[in-house]
Point group: C2
Chain length 335, copies 2
């Protein structure tokens, strides 16, 4: 019998069931056939002792793990949280456990800390949220010894990757605005993930293709409130009739600034966002935006990871085109 206070081990189970330790292991893993009689004995013993195999011991000897890590710059912001949720759901469905490693900044020290924390664990795979510079830096430092998948960001070579084609969506949205009759579209950017930001480059491409002037970009922070002064500034310029914002929260801040400055949305100025935040539909006026299915992105990411664990489809690239959601915050320019 196991000593009191200690968790039961596989030998406690073996002893109680009257079989050898490997036999218990065999019913646990199910890999090798065991006679029904002994199997029943073992299962009874497991139930009686409320035995749970130790993942640590298992991993040590089998070198196989049922844990994946998610490396992310953040866990609670809308896109991040939803993506992680998608990964977790897919992982759970396949019996995997998820571990989180947050990389606050792209500082060498911080990235090393996070990468070390991850490399210490024996993992089945790693999903990197390449939404921002910290994520990209972490991916770069990761060895190729463990299956990895990158989510979003610039295209990787040699690493399977799933992305949302933000540039295409931003281009389409900007074209829509121009098609409404706006002479040009102004842009408020969220902190860019990298040198080239898909949302910004899609916007610029659309303007160039239409030979529309490319106004200077306004930079917001992740704080919704940071959009307010930008909105006020934009409203002060009578030339401004359409604004495309890097995300919905900033768009809401910008709209607030515009309204505070005494102009109307969309009569005087059209405003569009990005993400289709849960509150975008509820906003007044409801926000025209781009629906990004982050949870599906996470799920695709885990799928890619699974494939890459089985050596299939290494280097696969999966791109999805987000859909524009037309609502009331955009309209033809007034007079």
């Amino acid at each position: 019998m196991g000593k009191a206070g200690r968790n039961p081990t596989i030998s406690d189970v073996a002893e109680l069931a009257g079989v050898s330790v490997p036999t218990v292991s065999r019913v646990l893993t199910g890999a090798v056939k065991v006679s029904p009689a002994k199997r029943a004995l073992v299962e009874a013993a497991i139930a009686e002792l409320n035995y749970r195999p130790s993942a640590a011991a298992r991993v040590l000897v089998s070198r196989k793990s049922r844990t994946i890590a998610v490396i992310a710059g953040n866990t609670s912001r809308y896109g991040y949280a939803e993506t992680i949720r998608g990964i977790e759901i897919a992982a759970r469905a396949e019996g995997y456990t998820v571990m989180i490693a947050v990389v606050e900044s792209a500082d060498d020290e911080e990235v090393d800390r996070a990468v070390s924390a991850v490399q210490t664990q024996t993992l089945a795979g790693i999903v990197v949220l390449k939404f921002d510079p910290p994520g990209a830096a972490a991916l770069r430092k990761l060895g190729a010894d463990v299956p990895r998948v990158a989510l979003s960001g610039t295209r990787e070579t040699g690493v399977p990757q799933a992305v949302l084609d933000e540039a295409a969506a931003a281009e389409e949205l900007t074209e829509y605005l121009l098609g409404l009759g706006h002479r040009t579209v102004h842009h408020v950017r969220v902190p860019p993930s990298r040198r080239v930001d898909g949302r910004t480059s899609g916007w610029r491409r659309a303007l160039r293709k239409a030979d529309a002037p490319v106004p200077p970009v306004h930079d917001a922070t992740w704080e919704p409130l940071s959009g307010v002064p930008i909105g006020r500034a934009l409203a002060a310029d009578p030339e401004v009739t359409a604004v495309f914002c890097g995300n919905d929260e900033i768009a809401m801040g910008v709209m607030r600034g515009i309204v505070e400055a005494g102009r109307r949305v969309p009569e005087d100025i059209s405003v569009a966002g990005f993400d289709d935040h849960p509150l975008a539909e509820l906003w007044s006026p409801p926000l025209t935006t781009v629906a990004q299915d982050f949870a599906a992105l996470g799920t695709r990411g885990f799928q890619l990871l699974l494939e890459s664990m089985n050596d299939e489809g290494a280097g696969r690239y999966s791109s999805e085109r987000p859909k524009i959601v037309y609502r009331a915050s955009t309209a033809a320019p007034g007079r």
Copy 2:
């Protein structure tokens, strides 16, 4: 030298440094003194091989882990995501890694699955988000063998717990509304965590204390849009002048319904929410609400866990009183 393709092990390091394996272990753990000369040798070897100790092997022999698990009914909804963020930040600061276990429902099977997944890991401790029935069910099934902490929910005995005193805050907010001159306050509830929901009971307590009529409760889902029809219904009743909603997102939906029905906020009807969602301040009109510091709750939770790992303060209870944020969505009743 280590075989190619394999991660380097502690004996590869020992060999390269020309010392014994336990000596390497001693510089790794720092528990026992090692001569500066050997220490330098070992550190050089570690750096050269880019060696990372295996957490699995460590845990197996030392029975000590630097990983904690968070059990939660959800990971991406505002309060949940922020709480997890707070836990993760505190854990990371102390060198702990966070593992996530999601419990979708309170079904026995689902709860057992999550609890098993957690018990398989060798953990330093577990933080349970007792925000909802699944969380509460999971806490109940967890053995006392690993340090645990409960966050929110009804008071536990024997388990350290950190909570936000929602009932007190809801009562204060309701009293404020009554103090403004409203005859009573209507209530829209979010899916309740348990039989007694703090927000609802605080509201009811305030009405009783003031001898105000207690109108029937309206039930919303977690979907912000579910508030819209409720808002419309409320607006149709001329008796309604003040509404207290279970969270900000629902409050936004309710306000939308009220406005659609042709009544104004706050001139005709005051609306208050709960949580101080990042967009509450930006809403028109800005929402009166209760600021819940979920990240701080998470941090306090991890602190409690640390104490309980060191056998200090087992059974501690930490309650924080959220602060009311007065904004423009509430006012004295019009005539």
